[in-house]
Symmetry: C2
């Protein structure tokens, strides 16, 4: 009989316990049976490179559990088996039967928007136009490292201890004062720090929406919002998005007839269509929300990434009624990996959201909050924003020029003055998902438009992000995509030429 | 007319925009009215310490919005008002009427276990025996700072970019291998990193429990679990806890009659009663779960804080059926402020939980995960655990001795061989909550037992944590508490002497 034991001398599990655990497992698996003799302390210890006393302690522990027994003069023997008993068959262990997991789980199969969107990330070596993410290469790592170190030196151990569910107080104050400078009147205790906007959406949904109640959302919109508002048991009302944001006539009709509990919008550089609501639309939206008593979730995650056009007031700044729940985050302007965002809302709403936040995860991690506070306070965020605004504006312009040059004349696209992506409309005959398959083989990824729709997905839409790749790579990727699209268009037209109307119908 | 503008020269909001935003707000609030003349560029710029061009840009922006207009030769005037229109009264702004928030929110009023528990934290200068938290003073700050810095240097900018929803892969691997050393068979892709055990509970609840379905929990138990499993719309089945953990006969009866969907337990150093399940109870619990096909949530957050007694196998180690969902965290053994915990469970369960995790907050922050990975890998966790186990064991013994010496003989308490607190039973006539009021005035805080009950709260129970205060402070605090309790006992007995039976009835 050979006993194979693997020890990790660096583990926080003491060596004698590693031995106890593994002997126990060997007995449970039948590799050691009742009556088997264990090696003497010295024999056991030598090959493992441990002291005899370690083996002695392990044997004592196993004996205390009744698993082994020493007989004076003859050695140590396996005495018991730790396997559980089953019904009447105490001797023969019943073979494990798997748990019927599928029957036990609540159905999540419809909540896969984010999964789809994030998977496109995985192609290494490709030119990635798939994600609305900041460019990793532009992260000011040294500045940030200094901020983390300084936060730990200044605040010391309290950053590692349990904190407040509402957030790290200096960060709450700093965000409130930045928002006030931007024309919104916000006090520090009207700010709740969250794990990014995603958690903010989830908490607000929990607070305002009971099963069966509806949320009005723009269509298309951010897939993370779809995952929260359009899950299996949720009811949503989708409002189409035009050149100045959502169609407010459709919205008013829905407010009147369907009484949604919340209204979710991205007024600045809407993701994916890239449009911003103009001032008149913003005012009318506030009026409608007041009239129908519906809180507005204003997602301003792209607000600071403006490359031209007027800086329009946020809904929160226009809101005299305290009905806007304002969301923002450091994920687009700085570092998504830190998962720090915030909600600014009337105090009574923040109080209730804090109860839910506490239940969700007690609080957002303090180290990231304190580091971002330092990063803001020392002016690094301002410096970084200047740099990325310049870079992203240039990349957007490169993408515009490449689209103009390489895409077929039948394609059209948005002209966003900010944000991270361009929304491209291909001829109706084409499917962006099919193009993605070919593109991935040729080293280019993007997001097919269908990921962004709550309803009526449009297969001929695609979103091209201009932030994660450099200008040369962008031009090259758009060139390759243009060639593929033109070739497919020729093929499709050739096949369908005489039956165009029919083909069109089938594809839309 | 005086215009007061506050500028923050360090803000990432450009100066001209700060001016635009604030002028807009002044107009909206009526501090500036149509026809009012704005100062010339130079006059405006001088007192603010900005360039004339900044004012010029701000005026252009305001003019583009139609809020101001220049008349040649006479200056710049307020031209429009950005306040929203209302119904028919276009001229008179309607005074803002508040949103009817209370009517709009779903009811959270029953979810306040954690709030109660955490509030006792706030008394500064007191000796805090209220919280099951590690001692801040024992945190190895320099070691940790080195780990953060090293993680950032090694991994670089990728730690700041969006990561995987399942967790930081090196940490998943490290946890899986540590668990395997402890006798559990776990692969890295069977580990999901969460924001502490609290989020783990929340995600598991979402995955397994539909409205109206029940969860079996120990009573008393961790208040964070109560907040998840016993909220307004939840159904729970409470199982009393005795000297060897939960009453398994009661549990079997509930499994048979009420079909709970999940079973939540803390087998090691149960919080608050401090007891551990013995091996026979662990085996029978697994058998019951197999028989009734109920997944067990095993919360092992105190498992590593063992000061004596045998190291019993975890339920996960005994489980041959893959029905245990194992939870653990760095919050008790290291740093709760980082909010990093994990779930180890069969791959199919992890896959579904990952979808929910993504929807909740995309992923747990990478910096904290990478820093904890370094902290583990370099052996700092092992070193830290040795140190705190020694310190906490000593403090626990100090508390035992002080209880023996200062508490009335009618009081009894648990004798935990691990964990963070002692569970004290006072004479039935006393109320721990009343004692807390007096204790807080005298500089001692603790947790009244009632915070921990799902049902039938016992007012005469209290939990005294021995981890956050040093030995002298513990002895002093127990001395003060003992004197208060003895005095109250004398009073209560005096008042109720002749009517004892009646008084007892009323108080139990």
């Amino acid at each position: 009989m050979t006993i194979t034991i693997d020890l990790d001398h660096k583990s926080h599990v003491p060596l004698y316990l590693q031995i106890v655990y593994q002997v126990r497992t060997l007995i449970a698996r039948g590799a050691l049976s009742v009556g088997d003799r264990l090696p003497a302390h010295r024999e056991f210890a030598a090959p493992l490179g441990v002291n005899r006393s370690t083996i002695m302690t392990a044997y004592e522990e196993l004996a205390a559990e009744g698993l082994i027994r020493s007989r004076i003069g003859s050695g140590t023997f396996i005495n018991g088996v730790p396997a559980p008993r089953h019904g009447n068959s105490e001797k023969e262990p019943v073979p494990p039967s798997p748990m019927p997991w599928s029957a036990l789980l609540t159905d999540q199969s419809h909540d896969d928007w984010l999964n789809g969107m994030l998977q496109a990330h995985q192609h290494t070596g490709s030119i990635a136009l798939a994600h609305a993410l900041p460019d990793t290469d532009l992260f000011p790592l040294d500045d940030f490292r200094r901020c983390v170190d300084s936060a730990l030196r200044k605040e010391g151990r309290t950053l590692l201890q349990l904190g407040s569910s509402e957030g790290y107080a200096p960060l709450q104050r700093s965000l409130a004062s930045q928002m006030t400078l931007s024309g919104m009147s916000v006090r520090p205790n009207e700010v709740l720090i969250t794990n990014g906007c995603q958690q903010a959406l989830e908490l607000i949904h929990q607070l305002f929406v009971r099963p069966g109640e509806a949320v009005a959302i723009e269509n298309p919109t951010y897939p993370g919002a779809l995952s929260v508002f359009c899950g299996k048991q949720a009811t949503y009302l989708s409002v189409p998005v035009g050149d100045t944001g959502m169609d407010l006539d459709v919205l008013e009709d829905l407010l009147l007839r369907r009484s949604p509990k919340l209204l979710y919008t991205i007024p600045n550089f809407h993701n994916p269509p890239g449009v911003s609501m103009d001032l008149a639309a913003r005012r009318r939206l506030i009026e409608l929300a007041v009239k129908y008593r519906v809180p507005i979730i204003e997602d301003d995650i792209y607000g600071e990434l403006r490359y031209g056009g007027p800086a329009l007031p946020s809904l929160k700044a226009l809101d005299q009624y305290g009905l806007v729940l304002y969301l923002n985050s450091f994920s687009k302007i700085a570092f998504p990996g830190l998962r720090v965002g915030w909600i600014a809302a009337p105090r009574i709403v923040i109080e209730h959201l804090t109860v839910l936040k506490r239940k969700s995860d007690l609080h957002t991690n303090l180290l990231a909050q304190a580091a971002l506070y330092e990063f803001t306070k020392r002016g690094f965020l301002t410096k970084h924003l200047k740099r990325v605004r310049k870079a992203y504006a240039e990349r957007r312009d490169t993408m515009f020029a490449a689209l103009e040059r390489y895409f077929p004349k039948e394609a059209t696209w948005s002209k966003p003055t900010g944000g991270m992506g361009i929304w491209v409309q291909l001829p109706h005959l084409l499917s962006a998902r099919q193009i993605l398959v070919q593109a991935a083989e040729q080293g280019v990824t993007f997001s097919p438009g269908e990921y962004f729709y709550a309803s009526l997905p449009q297969p001929h839409m695609m979103r091209l992000s201009f932030t994660t790749a450099g200008p040369e790579a962008i031009a090259e990727a758009v060139k390759r995509l243009g060639a593929m699209i033109k070739a497919q268009l020729v093929n499709v037209k050739k096949q369908r030429g005489p039956h165009r109307a029919e083909g069109h119908q089938a594809l839309v």
